[in-house]
Amino acid sequence: MTGKLGIVTTASLEKGVDVRLDSPVSVEDMVVGRYVTIEGQKRRFFGMITDVSLKFTDDRLAVSPPDVADPFIAEVLSGTSTFGTIHVTPMLTIGGDAASLLEGPQPVKTIPAHFSTVNLASEQDIENVFGKEDKERFFIGNPLDMETKLCLNLEEFVKRSNGIFGKSGTGKTFLTRILLIGILQKSKAVNLIFDMHNEYGWQGTSEKGPPVAGLKRLFPAKVAVFTLDEENSRRRDVKIDFVVKIGFDEIEPEDIVLLRQTLNLTEPAVEAVYQLRRRFGKSWIQNTLDIEGAEDTKELLESMNIHESTFQNLKRGLATIRRLPFIESHAPLDAVKNILTHLDHGTNVVLEFGRYRDITAYVLVANMLARRIYTQYQSRTEKAMAEGVTPPHPLVITIEEAHKFLNPEVSSQTIFGTIAREMRKYNVSLLVIDQRPSGIDTEVMSQMGTKITCLLDNERDIDSVLAGVSGKNELKAVLSRLAPKQQALIFGHAVPMPVAFQPREYGSAKSYKDFISSEQSTPAGKADKDIEKLWE
């Protein structure tokens, strides 16, 4: 459906534009989230429908309704005494003269004149605003009710930390997979994915139908799968590249601080961690666990001002860590070094957690590895700046259950808090996936560049995702009315204006082919064969 919708009747920059619909246009065809263009006198406006309402000219219509069973009366009244209006939030303007055409769409700073014509945005309009699929832009889906390809500039996208939010089961994982493929294909950045539920590397689950292929199966040359649980990965037939083991001596007090809640540690116990580290050095955990309840222990604790019960509390917590099977007293191979080598070669790394899906393992490993990788990046970037050599590949770290790392209590202590705040000074950014965005520190949320959100229905979650966005109330209406599955709203740094869209298909043979074929280096014949294999 294209063509004229109606005319602008009232408008305010703050409150948006009200449009009276022409009589042939049915209000039922107007859905929130759709795009319209407004032809002003000097410029075109681009806006999103954020509300639809019915109006009448005389209040008595509501009191004594006409006999609408009579088609004649119904036809006469529709669009005259009774009419539909839509509320449009203007997002962008495109000036009429040549100079502003070159500049492209600009943020809205004015409103259209009275009775300007309002049209549904055409495919061409959308393409003008969001751009065509090219070497930087990646097709992520279609705007709601439109056939146009919505493209995201991934080079811009990875320049900031980004967030993907949504209730559980709304399609966050599918969306993330699509974006990861986009980053892998269209930007210079490499991904490090902490894959808590084993969804990204080899194969992922789908609520309907067979499992879907992971990144490694689509792009074997560009993705390496690391695992913490070799047995589990082998059982799932995953082609693994490296088995990660963590040594006790690699765990720092900061890692324990982060686990305070999950390990149920008291405040003094956390304090004690630092003292023990100072006292015992690198092998502090081993030494602490070795302390037995003898006389000399008491003396030792007294000398460090640690209370007996505090010590027991800490010891219980450390014992939980020791029980994690991938923890060894000393790791034979340096996982961090290996990950860095892969990243340097431009290979994306997916770290599977296998059966160790509990939050302790995830928080511990993700934080520990990320901290050390970040430190490496930091020194290498600084060195590159000083010596004028190429800095390392930009790195995007994907974390799930982000509120565990980025909640207000711990975000100042975790490395992820630092990355989110310092952003890409050192070429590292985050891709945060979470279902409770309200649990994330507002300071971190405010630093996120692009946010993509699927359906959220908790008031606080919605507020925290939309905090600081212009037209927040209007977007709220759009967000809370997204379909429970496979619809999302994207806004922020990488898109010129917010857009509600349906992510592109992921999971059928054709979709894999589309993904692979946009990767020019893969010969077409080979790709076909690979796809057939995926269905075996």
């Binding site: 009448f56 000219t57 004649f72 009366i73 006469v76």
Partner: protein, 205 residues
């Protein structure tokens, strides 16, 4: 007496396009005409013209020639109404039929303008019933509705507007589309008075 009806629905008396009446009173907003034949009145709401001026019949009456002399009942011994007139042929001369038309437009050059005419009609001007082609042309725009809504009329405005639109719709090829368009125009004009609009619309279909 017969009142033959044209098939198209537009009443052309005796199937002719001859003059039907003569103006005996005229003002800017309306004119009164006396019919040449008793009872040969144009229907309420029909479009008539005199000179360049168009009018819509908004009232009609038949009464004695002399204002003070009321007719008396004569039919007690007659078998039919027709017989009364046959036995008293003078009645046809003593009674007269008059109608009032509201001026709703005039011809300026070759265009029909739906405004009040600049000058009132002339006394003794001949009045003709408009033919379907002319009605169709006149009905292309609904400017006259506003004149009718605001006119001071001897009959209820709602009745007159509904009658006029029904009459006009008979000359249209698609009478329903015509009525819908007219209804929409009325809905705009009466946007603040839904009850009046409802009354008119109820009388259109």
């Amino acid at each position: 007496m017969e009142c033959p009806q044209n098939l198209k629905g537009v009443r052309t008396i005796n199937n002719r396009t001859d003059k039907i009446a003569e103006i005996i009173e005229a003002s800017t907003a309306q004119f009164v005409a006396q019919c040449y034949e008793l009872y040969e009145l144009p229907p309420l709401g029909s479009l008539v013209k005199t000179g360049d001026i168009y009018g819509i019949v908004c009232h009609a009456e038949t009464a004695g020639l002399e204002p003070g002399r009321k007719p008396i009942a004569r039919g007690k011994d007659e078998s039919s109404e027709e017989a009364i007139y046959q036995s008293s042929p003078q009645l046809l001369k003593l009674l007269r039929s008059e109608f009032t038309a509201a001026a709703v437009g005039y011809k300026g050059g070759d265009k029909i303008l739906r405004y009040l005419p600049p000058q009132p009609a002339r006394i003794h001007g001949f009045v003709y019933l408009c033919q379907p082609d002319e009605i169709k042309e006149f009905g292309q725009s609904f400017g006259f509705l506003n004149i009718l809504i605001n006119a001071a009329l001897p009959v209820p405005t709602e009745e007159l507007i509904a009658a006029a639109l029904r009459q006009m719709s008979l000359a249209q090829e698609d009478s329903r589309a015509f009525l819908v368009a007219a209804g929409k125009e009325l809905a705009n004009l009466l946007s603040a008075d839904f009850i009046r609009l409802k009354n008119i619309l109820g009388k259109l279909s």
